[in-house]
Symmetry: C2
Subunit: 606 residues, 2 copies
């Protein structure tokens, strides 16, 4: 108890729940770090995709970035509407389930849950990879370091959502600040030193004739990696201080504005300062170095970029538990996922995410390169389903204010994200995306089985089905004894209070024992009949279970109580010195219907 | 159940116990393989020790071998007497305990137990080392191979002592046959081709002047490794068919005769055919090659020698469980050690030995060279204690037939083995023997703590101490409920039959719930009062335990029954989908004195 409080802090009262929620300025770093981290690699993807068509095609980086920013705006608008329509949270899962049906909802939920696990594994591994590049002797310990990093973020999140917000706010704001400085200083420098134009224009004019549409589409699809993480706010609306929907919506808007403007701004500056896709240096690093030289500010930018890549994991630690708790409340995941822990967070969801991500990291030996292709698929599946759901949502509300505009926005969003999804599936299927294509239905299947089980249980526990308030027909009490001693007689006293039909049962392993035990029983047995069972194969439990079955057969309508005399040693390890027969019998009887089990423990004093 | 029968066979009735015992011709291979395996390295040790004083000293190999054979005879005689004096088995442990006191007995027992574990680890590792020398690509898997070999011998022994006897009899008899062929053919060849004498005589005469006594003593002590394993029969007397003592004694005599004659015979032949201690070929291999050339018979000898080295482990798998069961019957080891398993062997002892030896092999990465110095210490400690014990035994029986002769024999035995023990401790202490010197007292200490615990328990369970056949002062029944449903009402019916003081307790996590549950209770609660406990920190168990403590405080003399309504899902994995609160409560209450726990399970049908 005490160790737990040291690690995750003292329990917080339920009554203080609202005070523990996030204000907007802490909500932004918690929910935006995943999306913002994509700024570090989204534009890069566009450069890499376009250069395949020759340097001239880099001319299209800025238009593509603008298209991506538009998509960010569309998707964010859609989620903004979702947040207000579903202020209890749940995002794509709830929208799809409500408007398209249970299965689309589960598909969206499963896709996002898988994606959150992948996000943690990939972002932590890439962060640790950055550290092991700097300190190569740590390379051999990378798996351990990854797991420790996951455990660290997990523990911070177990300490409460405010704690993770406070601790991780600074690096996120630092990153945003750095990026805007790059963009603004770049624009300033560009417009005041126009000589840098010339070269680029020449290059473009040389090959402006050809326009390979496919390459442009692919560049757009690759750049759409920027959108990953944008949906997290919609799942965790209830993490915000009231009015939840309003605060979450405002946070989402800020996030979208920052994301869109940085995407266009960074691409514009990078393009105009001649950044080139290279294997050994990122576009962002090239741009920053060109602008500021390899001075302290350059290193701050690099440092905050690595930090934001790791912190992308932190968003998942809020998104996953909230989504899992909502799906658990709908009985599609184990109900433990919706238990609020000591610090008012969904402890089991946080631990489940940490464990699953650690397993991935261990399986892939800390090299999650192979996981990156799997990454965006789930998110875009969720986007498409949620936008389609919103189209149906507005169709059902025809005539309300702005319904047509909303349908057009969500329709464009659904169409665009569906195309991106198709491109991702086609281009990345052979590189591992098939794993997700298998995993999503698997998770959906498990969810439906879980739901089926809960419905079955509820059916059987609901009151009028079995219940008859009658007396028991007959009550037989069986007391297995291991000898004539204190713990047994203690139990016998209790048994006699229960019923007049009490039988003590002794399993005899050696033929000679019976006479001796009968003689002792004569004296101490309180008049309770003793049944001695032979056990030719030396099993204690088998003859006993058989006897209980016999007693049951004699009174099929009656109830049987098995009363187990036990003694409890003073120290737990002393249990190792005893046969634990009572424990084993209890375990076996647990699965036998119509048997009540009583433990009458005698606590040893020394 | 079925898997267990496939692996270790169907259970055997207790009544058939005597039929499952070993006849002498199977007892010899089971108990002799450890002792016989020392023939493969005992004489070798003598050669290595003597060559330190120059080639001339090899002249003393045969006299030293004769001295060792005499010691074999003395020790065997002593154990022969022990077997007849203590036909229930237990060997050195029983002799020392009975005649010298508990602590010397425990020291002997601990020394032998440790030695059995070491024997398994060392013999299996050396066997696997022979295999990996032949197939070097298996070297990387040596630890796994060692563990598999241990598991194999363990499973054979779990199948019953006859099974291990039958399976391993052939290789043991093959080895004995091969060794006698070497000795007899060697003697025959030697006496019919006397030209081989000359050279040796010359060498001896050249340095006969100096006789370094210390070297001779050390050679003797080293050669005493031949005696390891000789004590096993005395521990497992009860593994023999009746008359147990007679059969065990005869087997021991055969074993001693074979051991002594082979020791002298092999040394004699090896010496006279000029075998020299070498690092890359054993004395035995040199002798066999000289006699038979590198033909098929030579390879059969080599093969059966490697096999006997591995089978030395098999003796431990009989010795250890028997000794452990005897010590457990005396309450110096966990009582589970004396449980007879399905196949009438001491299953837990066999498994314990397998696990301990595997741990050693894993820790030492299959390279148990380091363990060899630890090896003989325990055995000679046990020899010394048992011989000393026998001296006291005969002193107490002064005047009986042969008492003086016995005292002289055992006295010489005790004196000699004590000297060997001292030599081993002095020469091998820095090479690791100190581990055993620490381990033995540690095992002794644990044994006495175990014994203390059992005595404490027995004191408290013995009848007249606590027992008063009176009625309970007051019987309070507490029924924790999770809602108003079938499983709860089922339990409530039972509770009402127990006592008139029944209280249902509901732990409320949300302030709003109380009114709703009270309303339902009004209708279904059978008139039982309902107590709603608030839980500001969302713990189910804490408020409940506090409430139970309150109830206890109100009736300190009374008894409290906590009745847990449970439902049992149809499939075990479905338990993962429920909170297991009942299970946790049961676990917590188990350690609370004066509380009886009742499980009233409702078994779900689907």
């Amino acid at each position: 108890m005490s160790l737990k409080s040291i690690i995750i802090g003292r329990p917080i009262e339920t009554a203080k729940e609202k005070q523990e929620r996030l204000p907007k300025f802490l909500g932004l770093p918690v929910f935006a770090s995943d999306a913002l981290s994509s700024v570090a690699y989204g534009p890069e993807e566009v450069f890499f995709a376009l250069i395949l068509g020759g340097v001239a095609l880099l001319h299209f980086t800025v238009p593509v970035a603008i298209a991506i920013a538009l998509l960010v705006a569309i998707v964010a608008t859609s989620y903004f509407q979702t947040i207000h329509a579903y202020p209890a949270g749940g995002g794509a899962y709830i929208v799809a389930k409500d408007n398209l049906g249970t299965y689309p909802g589960l598909v969206a939920g499963a896709a996002l849950l898988i994606d959150y696990v992948l996000t943690v594994a990939v972002s932590i591994s890439s962060g640790i990879a950055a550290i092991t590049s700097a300190f190569p002797h740590l390379y051999g310990h990378r798996v351990l370091l990854c797991v420790l990093a996951i455990v660290f973020i997990m523990v911070i999140n177990l300490r409460g959502v405010r704690e993770s917000g406070r601790l991780f706010a600074f690096p996120v704001y630092l990153f945003i600040f750095c990026m805007y400085v790059v963009v603004l200083y770049g624009l300033f420098k560009f417009f005041y030193s126009p000589e840098s134009h010339a070269q680029v224009h020449v290059a473009v004019q040389a090959s402006a004739g050809a326009l390979p549409l496919f390459l442009l589409l692919r560049a757009f699809a690759s750049g759409c990696a920027t959108l990953t993480g944008i949906e997290a706010v919609s799942n965790g609306v209830r993490a915000f201080k009231p009015p939840e929907a309003r605060n979450a919506g405002i946070t989402l808007s800020w996030m979208a504005i920052i994301l869109g403007s940085l995407c266009v701004g960074l691409t514009y500056v990078a393009y105009h300062f001649h950044a080139m896709p290279r294997d050994n240096e990122t576009i962002l690093s090239q741009t920053a170095r060109t602008l500021f030289g390899a001075g302290p500010f350059y290193y701050i930018i690099q440092f905050s970029t690595s930090l934001i890549l790791v912190l992308a994991a932190n968003t998942s630690f809020t998104g996953f538990p909230f989504l899992a708790s909502i799906m658990a409340s709908d009985r599609f995941l184990p109900r433990q996922m919706s238990n609020l822990g000591d610090r008012l967070v969904f402890t089991n969801g946080i631990i489940a995410l940490g464990v699953l991500a650690s397993i991935l990291v261990i399986i892939f030996r800390g090299d999650t390169h192979l996981l990156i292709p799997l990454y965006a698929l789930g998110v875009f599946l969720a986007f498409t389903l949620s936008q389609t759901g919103m189209v149906k949502h507005w169709l059902a509300r025809r005539g309300r204010k702005g319904w047509l505009r909303s349908i057009i926005i969500n329709g464009i969003g659904a169409f665009t994200t569906a195309i991106v999804l198709a491109v991702i599936i086609i281009t990345k299927f052979p590189h591992g995306a098939w794993i997700v294509v298998i995993a999503i239905p698997a998770v959906v299947f498990i969810s439906t089985r879980i739901n089926h089980h809960y419905r079955m249980v509820a059916d059987q526990l609901i009151l009028p089905v079995y219940f008859h308030e009658t007396e028991f027909q007959h009550h037989s009490v069986v007391v297995p004894i291991s000898g004539v001693q204190n713990a047994v007689l203690n139990a016998l006293k209790y048994a006699k209070a229960l019923s007049s039909d009490v039988v003590a049962v002794y399993v005899s392993l050696n033929p000679g024992e019976e006479a001796k035990i009968r003689q002792e029983w004569e004296h101490f047995g309180m008049g309770v009949p003793l049944k001695v069972l032979d056990s030719p194969f030396r099993s204690i439990t088998r003859p006993l279970i058989e006897y209980i079955d016999q007693v049951k057969a004699q009174n099929p309508e009656g109830i049987i109580t098995v009363l187990l005399p036990e003694f409890v040693p003073k120290k737990w390890w002393q249990n190792l010195l005893h046969n634990q027969t009572a424990f084993i019998i209890r375990g076996l009887l647990h699965f036998k219907p119509g048997v009540v089990i009583i433990s009458v423990p005698l606590h040893l004093q020394k």
